[in-house]
Amino acid sequence: MTAPTAARRRIPALPFGAGRAELQEYALVGVVALLLIAGAILEPDTFLTSDNMLNVLRQASIVGVVAIGMTFVIATAGIDLSVGSMVAAAGVLGGQFADSGSLMFVLGAFAMGVLLGGVNAAAIAYGRVVPFIATLAMFTMARGLALWISDKTPVSIFNLDFVRWFGTGEIVGIPSAIFVFLGVTAIGWMLLNRTRYGRYVVAVGGNREAARIAGVKVQRIIFSVYVLSGICCAIAAILLCGRLSSASPVAGNLLELDAIAAVVIGGTALSGGRATIVGTFLGVLTFALIFNLLTIMNLAVEIQQVTKGVIILVAVLIQRKQN
């Protein structure tokens, strides 16, 4: 084999046995560090303050939670284009129970997430519909459902203090949404790297036939990742609605693209078989930092968009070189 591959192999395992660390994770750590340094130099007064950093993390938390679910989907060589719409639909259904208290809101949101994720899952795993198409259908169905249920108007959930706490509350001065994001990330990491389930997910994406011959129930695994993605959307809906104090049917627009972009620059292969939660976390962070820095610098949205696009392209080119 070529020298670079050999070199990559020699990289020692991460502490607590994270397995082989990918070059890309290291590269992204560098990118994040570079962004922090650049921010500290360009905006010394505002950027590297704890307030601003917490702000970055809080802003990242919604797309972050969705991206963790998306990592599992992409690990099986699938895709979920419907996450943005599912977030809206989950929030709106929860909002219908706003009079019955926070618990009902949460249950409603989860029910919608599981249901819609389950429809994706059934269509893909058992109906053999290509993930792109199945979730594209759900992309429009879930959005339509959100608009339909809410009668096209946002529902105020200002009375739901518990839900609002997830969006605006704090624990020891740190926004609670960050805890949710970090918690989901940690659970996702454990699930992917430390459980039989996670191993099977990556095996199915890496070589479906080999996984099947080794006894993996392939259909069941594929089913599960789309349900998982739906659940992550429900969690994200709770964070988002809590933040806005309302459940809007147009929420989460383009969220799928941000989530996919974060997963891909993190180093999870779109072709499946290679997935990294740490990479996804860093990918989410990278976009959040860029957004924050450019906003502080008062640069226009269009510049942010161009920057984001360039980063996605460069990251994927690096990934291709690696293989």
Binding site: M190, T195, A214, G215
Partner: protein
Amino acid sequence: MTAEAPPLLQVRGITKEYPGVRALGGVDFDVRAAEVHCLLGPNGAGKSTLIKCVSGVVAPTDGEILVDGEPLPTGEPSESLARGVATIYQELDLVADLTVAESIFLGHEPRRAGLLNRDHMRDRTKALLERLDHGDIPPDAHVRTLRPAAQQVVSIARALSHNARLLILDEPSAILDDHEIDTLFKVVRRLQEEGVGMIYISHRLDEISRIGNRVTVLVDGKTVVSGLPADTPPSELVLHMVGRRVEQLFPERAVPRKDEVVLEVRDLSRAPDVQPASFVVHAGEVLGIGGLVGAGRTELVRLIYGLEQPDTGEVLVDGRRLPRGRAAAAIAAGLGMAPEDRKSQGLLLDWDLTRNVSLADLGSYVRGVLINGRSERKAAAEQLRALNTKPDDPDRLARELSGGNQQKVVLARWLMRNCRVLIFDEPTRGVDVGAKQEIYRLISELAKTGIAVVMVSSETEELLGLSSRILVMREGAIVAELDGATTDEVELLSHAVAHTDTSPILEEAP
């Protein structure tokens, strides 16, 4: 030779080496104009590699190829095509959604002022098909609506549209029925009259005298006999194919425990690949399954393993019926499989060896809900070392290992479980001789521990050397059961090959 024109094609000392395997070891071969030169040899003899070298798909390691006496740049399919060398592959490579005319001119469509000239394309298609005596195929029909034989004619017409003067036909009759073969032969004779030279690869011995002028036998990447007249008796050709035996490659033959049936297959079938099959495998037995590629052997073991849903029949392990078509349940009952293609079906090439080995037995390392990575790695390392895998470093990636060692990784996976039945599909494909010997020894030792082994193989030698019994399949059906210790290669081949020299078709031959 000096007086007459040089042969259409001359292959001199062609060698092709893949990592760990020598596919061709200095092959000489030639084809004259208006000649059909048959190429014969067992599976894996290097026939495909040879024709890929000639058609430019593969660049040979050494040797040269001359067309009309002039060297052909190797490894360039477009060069071969430009010099009039065209190949009709076994798997027809037509695009099903295109029309006949579009298929024939795919990539070199006639154009006028930059636009497709459809009328011209249609006219030329008509002319080409008429030249092949198949003016009845409509140029506007979609390829998917044609029968295999007609698709083949379209493929040949496409070759002719490139002005092919040397046509390579890779087992063209394999997908055709007898009537369609007659059609094919008419086309071949017609081309011959026009002076086209042909390389004709076939497993059907009877075809050679019907259609060929000369025959060359290839075994283990070398020409055993070349340029024999095509009317050489098939039995003599079989002897050439069989060649000499390698001595002491095989360990002591496994002795089945006749009183202990481990695997029982009853009337298992799936149309059209597998006709109802019934047999038992005893503890300690190595049951070989022989036959030609495409005879339904792999399909049969995939049915047993639950990878496909059977039409009829059932599979029992230790007397218990397996649920139909569920591989996970079969594995839970004690089945294990080393599939035909390790790379696409056996291994996760980008995974390290530890995770490849533990995949089927992850439950053993789970404490609570989490995998204990350390004990997983340790167990994998021990198993790899026990199998003498090189390298046995469990952190290496599967793709970095040679074929033989990759096979050991697959084997290690199943040895982690207490398997009752192990299915090997082509256990030594792409494995060099030294590693072969080791794998044979492992298979034999596994059988000795009381495991029932089922081994599909295209290598007659290993079937004879290892099996207690051999089932021979032909066209989806088990046609013979032979005693591994007393049978020989001629008997095995004669069951495996359709229409041997006793077949009536030979007598009808012109």
